[in-house]
Symmetry: C2
Subunit: 304 residues, 2 copies
């Protein structure tokens, strides 16, 4: 593989600092007890957890800022600034909720990665067993070439190899299926957050245009704010467009529909597109989503 | 103002916990030394700093995860998984860079909020002075109604009131101008991150479709990965579309062009749209942007 076409070649320069950030943390010490095969994914899943926490923090702080902005506007005792800052606060709260919903969707993607990690961990003993028996045979052949135990060990090795063949097939089947499922979900969540925040930011900009910033001379009194109705309409429009939002994704095609309960192909294989379901996020891993319910509530309450 | 149409009415229930999060921190103790008038914005600017730090963390962790994903893929010794995971890592690195660029743009917006906070802080003494002289006059009128000092104080009050009229005009002029500028920048940054991450996620999904997840039976050998060229092309297309990206924003109109150096209207007022410049982010507050240079480098290096 051509290293110049990959991210791998640059990891030592670019990401060495980031990658080693948690080297001495408990997370990584725990990682030492993981099977060799699942160590890398174990660590990745931990790092993803830090990333998700950062998005949760960002969403929480955004909600707090929205509320502070509204309070500040009220304290200016300037009608226009008060009304517009309050409504921009509503838009920002929704942006914060979307950040939190994104974090929850990433949790679902993370749960799928754990399925790969788990099968990796479960395949490790099968590999170890094969190696262990081979080693015993080699040692015995050297020390006691005519030992009757050799025959037993050879039979054991055949059984271990057969078992390992099954385990390795299960591993590749699950890995390929789940890695597609995981990043299907990840990218769909990225697009969902982005599209919804674009809607919100667009209406936020319209609100700004309702605030007249023509400078006044000392003693001048600002005209009363006449755009309150228009501002309310902007929020109502934002709410409507956000509610009408639907995912429009290029489907990810999967042939893993033919995977049986034994993690091996069934006879009747069928192709399916994992993203053709109406909600590509909720479908693969249905979980509780409190924030999904919170979505739109700021706008709903503001435009009720 | 109708409280039901606003975010203010709900702050005690929804955001009380978030808002009080930093109550006992040094930031807030410092806030106590701020002028009364600039306290709210002072706190908001602090909270925005926490929010920006969260995005920086998210971006950094995303870069680390991208690199870990690539390493994991290589360790699977599965050609197809190795190639696709490496290229998804490249896409994810770019998504992480966009998160960091977003954080930097938020820093610029935060710098504009500081300009409002600063004028708020500078107007406070003028208000205090007016109140102080009025109080002295009231006290003296009660205690010593015929004091000759009363005339001097009345003259001082007239001067203080005139000075305060100027200060209040400067305050409203700057506040309205800068609040529009600040959130113009904020929402433009939100849209920029969103549009660029949509491009990246879309190509990430195309990469996933190049990975065949048809299950195999034990002993089957996977076909060699034949889509390496196609995968490289997907990255090249992503890079090209990202480089072609341009902001398409509804302009925010401003009449603050008539604001003179004394923060009062000049004679020749002119209307300008702050967002009509080719780069709406960099124009209002030109600052050093190291991450802006990093943008696209993952894709460039990967498709060089």
């Amino acid at each position: 593989m051509n290293r110049a076409l990959s991210i791998r070649s640059r990891k030592k320069d670019d990401h060495a600092k980031e990658a080693s950030k948690h080297t001495f943390s408990i997370s990584t010490l725990r990682g030492m007890h993981q099977a060799e095969l699942s160590k890398k994914l174990f660590k990745l899943i931990k790092t993803e957890n830090h990333c998700i926490e950062a998005y949760e923090t960002a969403g929480r702080e955004r909600l707090s800022i929205a509320s502070q902005l509204s309070d500040w506007g009220e304290a200016t005792t300037d009608d226009a600034v008060s009304d517009i800052s309050d409504k921009i606060g509503v838009i920002m709260s929704e942006i914060g909720e979307q950040e939190d919903l994104f974090a929850q969707n990433l949790e679902d993607y993370r749960a799928i990665l754990k399925q790969i990690r788990n099968i990796e961990a479960s395949v490790q003993p099968s590999r170890d067993q094969k190696v262990k028996i081979s080693d015993e045979i080699q040692k015995l052949k050297y020390k006691e070439p005519s030992s009757p135990k050799l025959v037993t060990l050879e039979q054991e090795l055949v059984r271990a190899e057969a078992q390992n063949l099954v385990a390795e097939a299960q591993l590749t089947n699950i890995t390929r299926q789940k890695i597609k499922e995981a990043y299907d979900l990840h990218f769909a969540a990225t697009i969902e957050r982005a599209e919804k925040q674009i809607i919100l930011a667009k209406y936020g900009r319209r609100l700004l245009n309702l605030l007249d910033d023509t400078p006044v001379v000392p003693g001048d009194v600002r005209q009363p704010f006449a755009q309150a109705g228009e501002a309310r309409q902007v929020l109502a429009d934002a709410e409507q467009e956000l509610q009408r939002w639907e995912p429009h994704l290029e489907p990810i095609h999967s042939n893993a529909g033919g995977l049986g309960a034994n993690l091996m192909p069934m006879d009747d294989r069928s192709t399916r597109a994992t993203s053709e379901a109406p909600d590509p996020i909720a479908t693969p891993v249905p979980t509780e989503k409190p924030a999904a319910e919170a979505q739109g509530t700021h706008l709903e309450q503001a435009t009720a």
